[in-house]
């Protein structure tokens, strides 16, 4: 029953909150969509926090996404022990990189008076959830090894069952506590996402790469103006 609530109901609750709040927030409080960078107030430790954290978590998330989208490919890659080792070690390395970055970010916010002025309760919630997430992730990788393989065999089918609106929690039920904590915390993160600065992920500036260099906006409808004369 608990398993069903955690892995069969919570994901839907969280997804609903995520969708409704992000859209509502974008429509009514567009001003609040910002990465809220604090590099201006502190420029050195920012590098050792922000850069390792972002690169680390991007690679780790990419790994999770690949396991979700192409489980067979991961499994056939893992068929050779050496390749499995390589994948696992890479995963742990980037997770540790994320942790180093996160530790710097949290320490920077804790120890510097200027930083405390721009740190909100929402930020602390995010940092706490992220710390739990990264630590449990590393814990899973260390204590319940070969996660890349059993992710593909157990979690991918469960996630797809969620997508297909027929949640099948039997895949998740037998997994160890640490894994379950990692999963539940991940959904909590998604649930808090729309209320925090994490929304900046949704507005990454991809159109920049192919838009025109300069932007000119006219307030006048010039064709109408000339007609008026």
């Amino acid at each position: 029953m608990n398993d069903f609530i955690m892995f069969g109901v919570l994901p839907y609750v969280v997804a609903t909150v995520f969708l409704i709040v992000t859209i509502l927030r974008y429509r009514t409080k567009a001003f609040s969509y910002s990465s809220l960078s604090s590099q201006f107030l502190e420029n050195q430790q920012h590098f050792w926090g922000s850069v390792p954290f972002h690169y680390g978590i991007l690679v780790v998330l990419l790994g999770h996404t690949l396991g979700f989208l192409m489980p067979e490919m991961i499994l056939s890659w893992n068929a050779a022990p050496l390749r499995l080792m390589l994948l696992e070690v890479t995963g742990i390395a980037f997770a540790v990189l994320t942790l180093v970055g996160l530790a710097n970010i949290v320490l920077r916010r804790l120890t510097r008076p200027l930083m405390r002025e721009v740190t909100t309760l929402g930020d602390w919630v995010v940092y706490l959830l992220l710390l739990v997430q990264v630590l449990t992730g590393i814990g899973v990788a260390v204590f319940h090894g070969w996660g890349s393989s059993w992710f593909a065999t157990n979690l991918t089918p469960w996630l797809w069952s969620l997508v297909k609106l027929s949640p099948d929690v039997t895949y998740v039920a037998p997994l160890p506590f640490l894994v379950k904590l990692h999963i539940t915390n991940a959904f909590l993160l998604v649930g808090f996402f729309p209320f925090t600065r994490l929304v900046h992920i949704l507005v990454v500036p991809n159109p920049y790469l192919w838009r025109r260099t300069q932007v000119v906006i006219w307030n006048w409808d010039r064709s109408r103006l000339r007609d008026v004369d």
């Binding site: 567009a30 420029n43 920012h46 405390r116 721009v118 507005v203 500036p205 932007v215 103006l225």
Partner: protein, 487 residues
């Protein structure tokens, strides 16, 4: 825009007017959309002209134009940490004083004092730098000696500028230049920055700014600022709400020395890119070439064809900016080598001449006609570095013309200069008596209407007015639709 530096008295009234109107909010407390610097000096933020470290503006190999900071290619690896972003230390930590202490301190042996309080943390702090820290310190070894523009001078020239009887300084008021080829706009990953087609004002859409901070490092003049409280960039808006109501911007309006001129010009946007690819010493002329003659029938027809209202064309014909920058060639862009083509033109200042110690008497050597230009205390190379990308000919031309106008007016009003002498001066400076009188009139006698020719803004024709007003009736007001707070 034109700033006539020969008239600037360095009173900072413009800065204060701007501060009181726009940047007295939390997060903007350290910003000075308008500031007045002493040159030689390090400016605000400190050494902003040192593009080796700040990476502002454009660079070119003659064929391609590229941002010095985060171009499209470089934004992806640098978005998490901007390597060339100035931090609070490059500006200063804003402070106030706990004035209450002066009134509320308990009786004691010591006089109560108001201590400086950080406007960010609210805690007492040590003041280490301020917005105008090197004011008037033109010859200072500690400040002025670090002016990046002094590089063009020889060691001997630099030493001369520090000698007490040869010291020189002038004021450089700065606002956003609302450039023709703005690097801040080009660098904005969110597309939040834009240039208004009607008047060329460069603005930041606060709803779309995501604090990627690219504009701050891309602007070579450091005139976009980061609001540390709201997490949005902000900049000079040229008081567009005032302009749209026919009023001059606050800094222009309040200028005590009446050094500021405002007017629109017609320009050919298709020429900008080509102009920006030219070598440094041709840039002043290249930018002038983009500005079109508003009296030329072909230009008027082309403007009409592209939907420019007649009122705007008429304003361009009366524009003091056109006269100073294009017709008289007196107005020069600040650091045009950044290739953003600033639309703020400076009339370079006539500086004191070199004094000569003749026994016990110190006298100025003004035997020759244009000695004041050639023997000015500030070497002309220094002004050339600021206002013509090293092409000193452009600065010399503007200075000689100004001086010739003075000699001519001296002849007219005082009469102790012979007419042929005055006419010779004008001829040598590429000026006619008629033009000299016009320059004199616009420089010295100009009224509000002469200095600020504000084009009609056709607010009734603005896009938002085209929608049905009943749709928004009783549902929206003026101004920001939500409180500018981080959430």
């Amino acid at each position: 825009m034109v700033f006539h530096l020969d008239k600037c008295i360095g009173c900072h009234t413009c800065s204060v007017a701007c501060k009181n109107v726009w940047t007295d909010r939390e997060g903007t407390d350290y910003m000075w959309w308008n500031n007045v610097e002493t040159k030689p000096g390090t400016g605000f933020p400190t050494k902003w002209e040192d593009q080796e470290s700040y990476k502002g503006g454009w660079k070119t190999d003659g064929e391609k134009l590229e941002l010095r900071s985060t171009s499209k290619k470089k934004i992806i690896p640098n978005i998490f940490h901007n390597p060339s972003q100035p931090s609070l230390d490059d500006y200063y930590e804003p402070w106030t004083y706990n004035y209450d202490e002066l009134f509320n301190a308990p009786e004691g042996d010591d006089q109560p004092v108001a201590r400086p309080i950080s406007m960010i943390t609210g805690e007492p702090m040590e003041i280490e730098a301020g917005p105008n820290w090197d004011d008037d310190l033109g010859g200072s070894e500690v400040y002025a000696a670090n002016d990046p523009n002094l590089d063009v001078l020889s060691d001997e020239q630099q030493q001369q500028m520090k000698a007490i009887e040869r010291m020189v300084m002038f004021y450089l008021p700065r606002i956003c230049n609302h450039c023709l080829n703005p690097s801040c706009v080009a660098a904005c990953p969110s597309g939040a920055m834009y240039k208004r087609g009607e008047d060329g004002i460069v603005l930041i859409n606060q709803d779309r700014c995501r604090a990627w901070r690219s504009c701050i490092s891309a602007c070579p003049y450091k005139k976009t600022y980061y609001n540390w409280s709201t997490g949005k960039s902000e900049k000079c808006i040229l008081c567009f709400p005032r302009l749209e109501a026919g009023e001059a911007p606050a800094c222009f309006h309040s200028c005590v020395g009446r050094i500021r001129y405002l007017g629109n010009v017609l320009y050919d946007a298709d020429r900008i890119k080509e102009a920006a690819l030219r070598p440094d010493d041709e840039l002043v002329e290249a930018q002038r070439d983009t500005i079109l003659d508003p009296h030329d029938p072909a230009v008027i027809a082309a403007a009409q064809a592209s939907g420019i209202p007649d009122g705007v064309i008429e304003s361009a014909q009366k524009s003091p900016v056109y006269r100073f920058a294009k017709e008289w060639k007196l107005g020069l862009p600040l650091h045009v080598e950044y290739r953003t083509f600033p639309m703020l033109f400076y009339v370079p200042p006539l500086l004191p001449v070199m004094s000569i110690s003749d026994g016990d008497i110190v006298r100025s050597d003004v035997d020759e006609l244009f000695a004041e230009v050639e023997k000015a205390r500030a070497p002309i190379e220094y002004l050339g570095k600021l206002f013509s990308a090293g092409n000193v000919g452009k600065v010399r031309y503007a200075l000689r013309k100004q001086l010739a106008v003075r000699i001519w007016r001296r002849h007219v009003t005082v009469g102790d200069v012979a007419e042929e002498m005055a006419k010779k001066a004008l001829a040598e400076a590429d000026c006619t008596p008629e033009q000299a009188d016009e320059i004199y009139r616009l420089s010295a006698l100009a009224t509000w209407d002469d200095r600020f020719v504000i084009p009609p803004f056709q607010r009734e024709m603005a896009m938002e007015m085209m929608t049905d007003p009943h749709e928004h009736r009783a549902s929206a007001g003026f101004g920001s639709r939500e409180e500018p707070r981080r959430s």
